[in-house]
């Protein structure tokens, strides 16, 4: 732990700094905007950070670290919580011995996501205490508070951030008085951690008891704050919406909720009784509204049109004025597009020319689905390309089924594609199937992160490498091809056609380094000493 400093930090960097100052043993997660920089920064400033193949594995590793009595940081974007939700719901029952802090980085407005789910709903569903920072200073402070709460009650804690908290810089005062972590050690406690029905039933009761205690504590906790203004207007708010509201209505009284679950209803009730008009200003789902109303606190909800997208000062002013007129629109900026010499362009071009029905996935190559190529017919979630492709093959008439191709990136394949491949072998469609892994040797979309298929760690050192072609053959796919879709474009085209015609199970690995990252990636590989 260093001395206290005053720094200008992005919210994500503030979390990394807090994790370092708190003596976190390990940081793990899966890259995803807007969460990615947390682990990168944690590693850069001296923490032990690693990328997991996906968020479920990251959380499971985190649970192990926390079972060992240590402090652990697990990071992911909002949709990553869906993947990690299986362990999440049950670690709430088992509890932890050390501190387990999970970052959920939500993306209202979908700047870089496939949906804008509001993960505060998970807090209540899983029974996991949740803090909502509004800026970089609170990201730092609340991470430390999350560690404290996690250790005090032996509970996982979620720090729910959003794009404008993750990616906004602000002034941060760090602390030098953080209690050191305990030394890691194993304490055997089978009834607490072995979730078979006989042990899980009392564990659920223990969870509810802990949540009741935390709720009582939260009623006077320091992160819930009232800012006294006039009695005319009271605003209940949380996260970055607090900042917009403070600026939009400096004259209003404000009740800022720092810990949104367990819900501090008494604190909010007392506030609501002091003002004439009581309005909730929150981004996304009416989480605070519904919790208020469930507790008999009469509050006004924002008009439904403001449920969509981010809030900002202008939109909060409209909410306050009850203005539901059409919002102004401005000329659109340039959308992202594939780099000029990107190999995904070539692959997309061939797929478009053959009029394939393409079950797609999440990565740069998803841009191939936009005009002019429009070479992708669906994108649902990480890894869905293979399952969706198989489903289409099972149901479509033969001539259409034969045109179905699943396209998935290398990092996405590691994340969630492997089980799809197993299903393909186990339940082959009558017309076979063709899967293309567009392998550019990096997690390009989120900023060139390493993954198990690159065989290099987060800090680009050589480590065990997942070889896709070996894996596919081991799974039972007989036809596995590796080809450079740019240098061998004609062969790629012919191979794809022959594969579609064959009605067999085929995996084509279209392998060519990301054009944007190639110089860096080649240098990493050379420095890793493997070549």
């Amino acid at each position: 732990m260093g001395e206290a400093k005053r720094l200008l930090l992005m919210g994500n960097d503030a979390v990394a700094r807090a994790a370092l100052d708190a003596g976190v043993t390990l940081g793990t997660g899966y890259p995803g905007t807007p969460s990615t920089e947390i682990l990168e920064e944690f590693g850069r400033i001296g923490g032990r950070a690693q990328w997991a193949p996906n968020e479920k594995v990251a959380l499971e590793v985190g649970i192990g670290v926390a079972f060992a009595g240590s402090r652990v940081l697990v990071t992911m974007k909002h949709v990553g919580i869906n993947v990690a939700s299986d362990p999440l719901f049950t670690v709430a029952y088992t509890g932890v011995t050390g501190a387990l802090v999970i970052i959920s980085a939500d993306d209202p407005e979908m700047h870089s996501s496939q949906n804008e789910q509001d993960n505060r709903n998970y807090s209540r569903a899983a029974g996991v205490p949740t803090l909502e920072p509004c800026d970089a200073q609170e990201s730092y402070d609340m991470f430390l508070a999350a560690v404290e709460i996690s250790e005090r009650w032996g509970m996982p804690v979620i720090l729910r951030m959003t794009t404008r908290v993750c990616h906004s810089k602000g002034v941060v005062q760090t602390r030098a008085d953080i209690p050191a972590p305990q030394a890691p050690h194993f304490v055997r406690d089978i009834p607490a951690r072995l979730m078979v029905p006989g042990y899980a039933r009392p564990a659920h009761r223990r969870l509810r008891k802990k949540l009741a205690e935390i709720k009582a504590w939260n009623e006077t906790a320091p992160f819930n704050q009232c800012f006294d203004g006039g009695a005319e207007l009271g605003i209940i708010t949380s996260g970055v919406s607090f900042l917009h509201a403070r600026e939009a209505a400096p004259e209003a009284s404000i009740c800022k909720i720092g810990m949104c679950y367990p819900f501090p209803d008494e604190f909010i009730r007392a506030f609501s009784q002091k003002v004439k008009r009581c309005l909730v200003v929150e981004e996304g789902d009416p989480y605070l509204v519904e919790n208020c109303r469930m507790n008999g606190i009469a509050v006004e909800n924002k008009p439904e049109m403001f449920r969509f997208g981010e809030l900002n000062v202008a939109r909060v002013k409209r909410i306050l004025a009850g203005d539901t007129s059409t919002e102004p629109t401005f000329p659109p900026g340039n959308p992202p597009k594939l780099c000029a010499d990107c190999s995904h362009r070539t692959v997309s071009g061939v797929l478009a020319e053959k009029q394939c029905i393409v079950a797609g996935d999440i990565g740069c190559y998803t841009l191939g689905g936009l005009k002019p190529l429009e070479a992708m017919d669906s994108c649902v979630c990480m890894g869905a390309s293979i399952g969706v492709g198989l489903g289409l093959r099972h149901a479509l008439p033969k001539e259409e089924a034969k045109r179905v191709v699943s396209v998935i990136g290398d990092s996405t394949f590691v994340h969630s594609g492997i089980t799809g491949l197993v299903d393909m072998v186990y339940n082959p469609p009558p017309t076979g199937h063709v899967v293309i892994i567009v392998d550019n040797g990096t997690t390009a979309m989120t900023g060139l992160q390493e993954h198990p298929g690159t065989g290099r760690t987060m800090s680009h050192k050589a480590t065990g490498k997942l070889v896709f072609e070996d894996l596919a053959r081991a799974v039972g796919i007989a036809k596995v091809h590796v080809i450079d879709p740019v240098a061998q474009k004609e062969q790629f085209d012919a191979l794809l056609q022959a594969s579609l015609d064959s009605e067999e199970l085929v995996l084509i690995i279209a392998r060519r380094l990301c054009s944007l990252g190639a110089p860096k990636l080649e240098a990493y590989e050379k420095a890793s000493g493997r070549q």
Binding site: K169, H244, V313, A314, N334, P336
Partner: protein
């Protein structure tokens, strides 16, 4: 000092828009202001539009410059002026590439071919920041430290020079 100064930077991915926003934030922070900076990372690196909002003053609340309240709009790519003009407040100042290249200019690539001008495609962002600096009250040493803190040592001399060039150009225009 009570009033918040709002600056919006806009351009395309790869132009260093976020870098100059970082430099301005660092400068404002060293000068003793509360600072907030907001941007969206991620898909913008695929050649899309990039924006960064920097706000500084005695106390800054929202990290985003409210609609139509930018004191300065700094646009590093001519095609990105129209889709960002609405950020500016009435009477706010637009700083765009025409400052260096005249009104009939539309191809930013020409920068590299002009030997009389120290500006290149790569340091153009810092020249634009220099132009902005002519309208802000930070001391030279604050700018110099912020530029050095955000760029590799080998690029310091070149960028300090092009920053000064941009600053003079803006002062001449006033």
């Amino acid at each position: 000092m009570d009033k918040v100064t709002n600056v919006v930077f806009a351009g395309l991915g790869g132009q260093g828009v976020l870098k100059v926003a970082d430099i301005l934030s660092d400068a404002a922070f060293s000068a003793g202001f509360d600072v907030k900076q907001s941007e969206v990372h991620g898909m913008s690196q695929r050649g899309g539009s990039v924006n960064s909002d920097v706000r500084f003053g005695a106390r800054v609340w929202s990290p985003m410059v409210p609609l139509g309240e930018a004191d300065f709009l700094v646009v590093t790519e001519p095609t990105q002026v129209d889709n960002n003009r609405h950020c500016l407040k009435e009477g706010g100042l637009l700083i765009d590439p025409s400052l260096f290249l005249g009104d009939d200019y539309d191809d930013i690539e020409d920068l590299n071919d002009d030997d009389d001008c120290p500006i290149t495609l790569r340091n153009f962002n810092v020249a634009m920041l220099g132009a902005l600096s002519a309208h802000l009250q930070f001391e030279d040493a604050v700018w110099e430290a912020a530029i050095k803190a955000n760029l590799p040592a080998k690029a310091h001399a070149e960028n300090l020079a092009v920053f000064a060039f941009g600053r003079e150009k803006a002062q001449e225009q006033e």
